[in-house]
Subunit: 326 residues, 2 copies
């Protein structure tokens, strides 16, 4: 409990320790989370996603610097960055990312950067990310940037944690079948065309706006008619030079205002917590099942399956019915 108190008091070492305990899902980590959870709910969670090569990391770094710089009427905010790399199943690609970031933001006590690479299940990764977010939130980090590398369902699940989702594009990144963009666009609250000094930026922008018009109406089907609509803006940046980044921060602030005024902030909070709860329940069920099944019974059924004597569904039914508790 001491640890949680230290985190709430702003102790950076205690914060780092708690993050590790939570990421590794230890008993102490769970204890700390239970103590910290009542203090959450204040942070603005911002998801940043997009294909590799779009310059997401540079944009996130620059955004952090904007939030650290006081502007008219806006004090500097405490910023946490969580970089999630679900594409690196084996090696610690994320560590490299950390080292590169350090150069820009190291030494600023108002910034905390944490990287996570995948290990084990995806559910585990989303759960771990959610845990880190809660710790930062309770510790008074007002802006939490959740950056994911890649463009798959894993990333979509992770950015769903966020109040505001930025999708980053860049000109000339392959014009494959655009399905990938069409899908990810529907979770975008803001679209950023980074590397906007490259040729083809107008094409990218036009394509995005066209797809937005297609994707847009669906998002609001479930909302009452008089709900204020949010039309995702398309913004240009050259993150390596900081160009356009303040405008992105301003658009994020407008989105926050939209969320609170429309009641969507609470709605998203609820949806997020419910999704996190379900994923945790799933983990509980699997752990409990694993503890209850005799290893010999498991191996015998697996062998029958491998010899094609029973089908997958039959094997699964057999193993879930023959539990110790039956």
């Amino acid at each position: 409990m001491d640890l949680a108190v230290s985190v709430l008091q702003g102790n950076r070492l205690a914060l780092a320790r708690t993050l590790s305990l939570v990421e590794n899902d230890t008993a102490k980590g769970r204890e700390a989370l239970a103590a910290l959870f009542p203090h959450t709910g204040g942070a603005h969670l911002i998801g940043v996603t997009g294909a590799p090569g779009t310059g997401k990391s540079s944009l996130v770094n620059q955004l952090a610097q904007v939030y650290r710089t006081p502007a008219e009427g806006i004090p500097a905010r405490k910023v946490a960055i969580i970089a999630v790399d679900p594409s690196s199943p084996f090696t610690g690609g994320a560590i490299l990312g950390d080292r590169i970031r350090m150069r820009d933001l190291a030494g600023d006590p108002g910034v905390f950067i944490r990287s996570m690479a995948t290990r084990g299940s995806l559910g585990g990764l989303a759960t771990a990310t959610s845990g880190l977010v809660q710790v930062f939130d309770a510790a008074g980090y007002e802006i939490i940037l959740i950056e994911t590398v890649g463009v798959g369902q894993a990333e979509v699940d992770i950015v769903r944690l966020a109040h505001t989702t930025l999708v980053v594009e860049a000109p000339g990144l392959g014009d494959d079948i655009q399905a990938i963009k069409a899908g990810i666009l529907e979770i975008a609250d803001l679209l950023v065309v980074n590397k906007a000094d490259r040729p083809g930026v107008e094409n990218t922008e036009r394509a995005l706006k066209g797809m937005l018009e297609l994707a847009h109406p669906k998002r609001h089907d479930r909302l009452p008619d008089d709900t204020p609509l949010w039309i995702p803006p398309v913004l240009r940046t050259v993150a390596t030079e900081g160009a356009g980044v303040r405008e992105v921060a301003e658009a994020i602030a407008r989105h926050r205002q939209h969320l609170t005024q429309s009641g969507e902030w609470q709605e998203r909070d609820r949806t997020r917590l419910e999704a996190e709860l379900e994923s945790m329940i799933k983990d509980n069920l699997v752990q409990r099942w694993r503890a209850s099944i005799p290893p010999q019974a498991y191996q015998a059924t697996l062998q029958e399956l491998i010899e094609r004597r029973i089908s997958l569904h039959q094997a699964a039914d057999k193993l879930t019915n023959n539990r110790g508790e039956a």
Copy 2:
């Protein structure tokens, strides 16, 4: 059961119907799978993954055409293509893909193409893909190409279904932090640099070979010392013109030979079935739990969570302990 018999006899309509029943996880689909499963195990499952813009779909189409063309001593093979698009959580991007493919391969009774977009959970997607693979395998499709759009963990999980995994790259696709490639490289059995007529192909190839050397030793840690090693080859293609595609098919054939000679074919089969079994058990457990929990108890706990009166772990523990069966 009639349906399964028709599938085994090569009836294309029955095959299409069974694929839909399996994809939608219906009772009839499960019944068909149970009847078909003893007839599986003959197909060579080939996973194809890589970032958007690399031209995976063109490569897969061209590979299918190579397999359909008899060569010296090699008869034409029956080919199934399963295109999985986990990046499109809402709209049916996959349908567009189908239409584009149709032009090349339509009308050939030895080719069957099936697209799947995400709906619901990822576990669901991998399970559905596995089901389709089993149906095609039992129906006598000797080559099953599983293509995934994107580069995240979802794709890694799906290509893990395969005996042979191709990772497709292309020159000039952004040189971000290379973590994404380092991660995916470790699952690659073959590397293909597509669009090899573009500038920068030498750089891409050199970078891949460099990373391969780093990634390579780890793959074989768990194997005995005398196991024949497979060094993933790096091949160039221009898929839109068919250049280099036959060489890819030949490398795939060599990899198959390596797998059978080293015993890794059986090992991968076993690993795959075990992973599929675990994911199915997980689905069973969640379904059973959902049926057992009184909706009011669920809503009351969710409300406590939203009001931050209990933590996520506490809420999850409460809901998994207070089940109907307790």
